[in-house]
């Protein structure tokens, strides 16, 4: 009898296999006769491509580069992942990836929540709320651009699942309620950034830091029926116009998994799909075909920028013990004597409001740096490297000049480089220290030419740009050149296009103002860390040489270069 049962079972299995054989991995067929996938997706790739250029690339790994983090062979964020659930028949994947998974994982990690805590809907976030608060979402609950989903997380925050459960979505045309919004405001993110999905080490570093990565993926046909096996390739034989784009969340990796290591991704298709809702994806396939964009969110970084609202940080009349440099003058204007529209005049000054003299032997500097507002790692440079040093020799004490006019080897970081052998006494501005013949106050004027840039840029003046001096407050060393709304300057072939630039204060911005007005803009810690990384690795010097060759040469003894001018009484800082 037992034998008969076994034989019967085998026959049934054979029958099942042969009736299903060739289409066992094909998606279910829809009513229209086409092969409709059995699960919903909802990533609006066309709109996403339009916002790629305005999504800043993350610099975390650069700013952490001093910490020498060794990559582990395996990292899983399982402890912080909420229970796997399904987006059902709605195209809400972007809200699931960013809101339900990424935001909940960040929150669970920051608040040390346990797996049991995450079974409580009050501790996980609502994809419904996030989808409904997302701008430009598709009609009938179908499709969203991750950029706007994360912008909603940043601007409005996200309500919990217990407040806004994932039901009664209707056609997703309804608005969020006041009660929902009030709760959501408690869970805003500080910023969101794009990361390179082909940079496996970077992705692993984020995961090691406990940060999940939101993914934008192009799905092949086998993805829908995948099980617990690693995916090495997929079937993209469908027409490009029929490719399915889908958001998911990267939650781990294992270098030993599969043939050459694999990433662990959690999906929003319920526990019956894949490996209990998760999937392993081979490293190569992940970046070759599956994922084309990746994002990280920052829950709450805090940091020095917030302290800018404190008057004592930026008031020159507030003196501090020890060392502290403060920018007290900054203007960047079209050069009235210039030959070209790229010619500009920078007026600047730095004040020593500490209790001690800042000596030239400290080898410190003032740096005028430009960077692409969305890709500073790839597009940057130093316009002016104003170096305070005694390297030039004692016979030059009290003097200043172009690097070319002194026979001392010094590293050139800027398109324009200038040395100054002066000490800056406490309570003096740097310009006054350079020109100390009378009791008047002075500023520097520097005539320069913008390199042949095209794109969106911020310029930033940094006192002690390479952090040679340990100061009471570092955040007051930075002043940004922006448009009047703190947005980046639009530049074409080196010519600033913004028509709304004003003189004085409207064109400059302290770090705190930048942060309030442009929350995704890089903060001063990031820019400072980036510039020091670039200096350490010789990148800055290489860029200076390259930029110098691309910038218009000025004849000797022309009006270009550094000058001392009498300070206006009413400083506009």
């Amino acid at each position: 009898m037992k034998k008969f049962t076994k034989l019967f079972a085998k026959l049934i299995i054979i029958l099942l296999i042969f009736t299903n054989c060739e289409h066992s991995t094909t998606p279910q067929s829809g009513d229209d006769g086409k092969n409709d996938p059995p699960y919903d997706t909802g990533l609006d790739r066309d709109k996403e491509l339009q916002t790629i250029d305005i999504t800043p690339k993350d610099l975390s790994l650069i700013t952490l580069s001093d910490q020498n983090i060794n990559l582990l062979n395996r990292v899983m964020l399982y402890d912080y992942i909420p229970p796997v659930r399904s987006q059902e028949n709605y195209g809400t994947c972007a809200a699931w990836g960013a809101g339900y998974y990424a935001r909940t994982i960040m929150y669970a990690r920051e608040n040390n929540l346990s797996k049991t805590d995450l079974e409580n809907d009050a501790n996980v976030f609502s994809p419904k709320y996030l989808f409904l608060s997302t701008e430009y979402r598709g009609e009938n609950c179908y499709g969203a651009n991750p950029f706007y989903v994360m912008k909603a997380l940043q601007d409005k925050g996200i309500a919990t699942w217990s407040t806004v459960p994932y039901d009664d979505l209707g056609n997703c045309s309804q608005n969020t309620t006041g009660d929902w919004d009030n709760e959501a405001a408690n869970y805003k993110i500080e910023n969101f950034r794009s990361v390179d999905p082909t940079d496996h080490n970077a992705l692993k570093m984020y995961l090691m830091m406990g940060r999940p990565v939101q993914l934008s993926c192009n799905l092949g046909l086998n993805f829908f029926s995948t099980k617990d096996e690693v995916i090495y390739d997929d079937d993209y034989s469908s027409e490009p116009s029929e490719h399915m784009y889908h958001s998911m969340c990267l939650v781990g990796y294992d270098d030993e998994k599969g043939a050459s290591g694999a990433f662990r991704i959690v999906n929003s298709w319920g526990e019956n799909w894949g490996d209990n809702g998760f999937v392993w994806v081979d490293y190569n396939f992940f970046s070759d075909k599956l994922c084309y964009m990746a994002y990280v969110i920052e829950g709450d970084k805090g940091g020095l920028s917030e302290a800018m609202v404190d008057e004592k940080v930026i008031n020159p009349n507030f003196r501090v013990d020890g060392d502290d440099l403060l920018t007290i003058q900054f203007k960047d204007e079209s050069d009235p004597h210039g030959d070209e529209k790229q010619d500009r005049v920078l007026t600047y000054n730095i004040f020593n409001r500490g209790s001690k003299t800042i000596n030239a032997s400290d080898d410190w500097n003032i740096v005028y740096y430009y960077y692409n507002a969305f890709n500073p790692e790839g597009d940057f440079g130093v316009i002016l490297y104003d170096y305070y040093t005694d390297d030039v020799g004692s016979e030059f004490y009290g003097k200043n000049d172009d690097f070319d006019n002194v026979d001392v080897p010094m590293d050139k970081y800027g398109i324009f480089n200038w040395w100054n052998y002066v000490d800056v006494p406490a309570g003096w501005s740097v310009a006054k220290a350079v020109y100390s013949d009378d009791g008047s106050d002075y500023d520097f004027e520097f005539s320069y030419t913008i390199p042949n840039l095209t794109g969106d840029y911020y310029f930033v003046l940094m006192a002690d740009g390479f952090n040679n001096i340990e100061e009471q407050y570092e955040q007051n060393n930075f002043v940004f050149f922006t448009d009047e709304n703190r947005k980046p300057l639009k530049i074409e072939n080196g010519i600033i296009q913004n028509e709304t630039l004003h003189k004085g204060k409207e064109q400059s911005s302290h770090a705190g103002e930048m942060k309030r007005s442009q929350p995704n803009a890089y903060n001063i810690e990031e820019i400072s860390a980036l510039i020091n990384y670039q200096k350490r690795n010789g990148i800055l010097e290489a860029a200076a040489n390259k930029n110098k060759s691309l910038t218009k040469k000025h004849p000797k003894n022309s009006h270009y270069g550094k000058k001392i001018v009498k300070a206006v009484l009413n400083r506009e800082m």
Binding site: G220, V230, D233
Partner: protein, 281 residues
């Protein structure tokens, strides 16, 4: 000395001219549908059929080029050879209506035949590919696909492909990863005496007839998860340097592991054998 220089110059000019004329004729013959047989030629530049072919609209987002020539390269040297291009909105597919044969050829770069359809026979017999081979999504209808004696130093992707008839990999050598995931082999698959010097993925592959892996060597990881073999599967004297994975594999014909060093634990409970596998050391 002078004579020698002149002789060398003449030889160089002759060789360059020969290679150039081979390329020029090749393009023209391809367009006209004339059979192409090229022996001992060196293609100094990349061959990209998507730039030579005349495509017609197949669907709104796919363009198709049908090549009606028999194409035979014997002892030729190529740089990169490409027959597939895909963008965000448009895909270029090439259909070879007759045979495509590379015999004893050498590719300094990649050979990309992804998503191509070959109605006739396909061969890479005794050929060497310095970089990668991509046959992902290819559909080969000819009575044999011959990879015997070939060697590939880069990644080999033969995934999501369909072979309507027999395939022969006898004595092939793969120095990098090989992926057969989700491919369908409708005829006999001769994969004996193959050297897999890196990892191999047979997972989710479907063999309608016999799968012969006898005397093959698997030097690194090998994955047979969800493999489906309808005919017999022969692993006689197959050597696995690392334990293979057979999770959820299905063997509906006889599975023979005689002389193989396979650890019987690898054939775990989740693998299904319709008849008891033969395991004799």
């Amino acid at each position: 000395m002078k004579e020698r220089i002149i002789k060398i110059t003449i030889i160089i000019i002759f060789l360059c001219g020969y290679a150039l004329s081979a390329q020029t004729n090749f393009s023209d013959d391809l367009r006209c549908g004339t059979d192409i047989f090229i022996r001992d030629a060196v293609f100094e530049e990349d061959v990209d059929l998507t730039e030579i072919c005349e495509f017609t609209d197949f669907t709104t987002s796919q363009k198709l080029c049908e090549i009606n020539s028999n194409i035979i390269f014997d002892n030729c040297t190529f740089q990169n050879f490409t027959a597939f291009r895909s963008g965000d909105t448009l895909k270029y597919i090439i259909q070879f209506n007759k045979n495509l044969i590379f015999s004893n050829c050498y590719f300094n770069g990649n050979l990309n035949l992804a998503d191509t359809k070959i109605v006739g026979e396909f061969s890479l017999k005794s050929s060497t590919i310095a970089k990668s081979l991509n046959l992902s999504g290819a559909w080969i209808l000819g009575k044999i696909s011959d990879f015997s004696g070939m060697r590939c130093f880069g990644i080999t992707k033969i995934s999501n492909s369909i072979f309507e008839n027999r395939v022969n990999f006898l004595n092939a050598v793969f120095d990098d990863m090989v992926i057969f995931q989700h491919s369908v082999f409708k005829g006999k698959a001769i994969m004996g005496a193959v050297n897999f010097n890196d990892s191999v993925v047979f997972s989710n592959a479907l063999f309608f007839q016999n799968l012969l892996l006898s005397k093959s060597e698997f030097h690194k990881k090998s994955f047979f998860n969800y493999l489906d073999v309808r005919g017999s599967a022969e692993f006689n004297d197959t050597e696995f340097k690392l334990d293979p994975e057979f999770n959820h594999a299905r063997f509906l014909g006889l599975a023979i592991f005689n002389g193989s060093n396979i650890n019987s634990n690898s054939l775990n409970e989740s693998a299904f054998f319709l008849t008891k596998p033969v395991l004799e050391k």
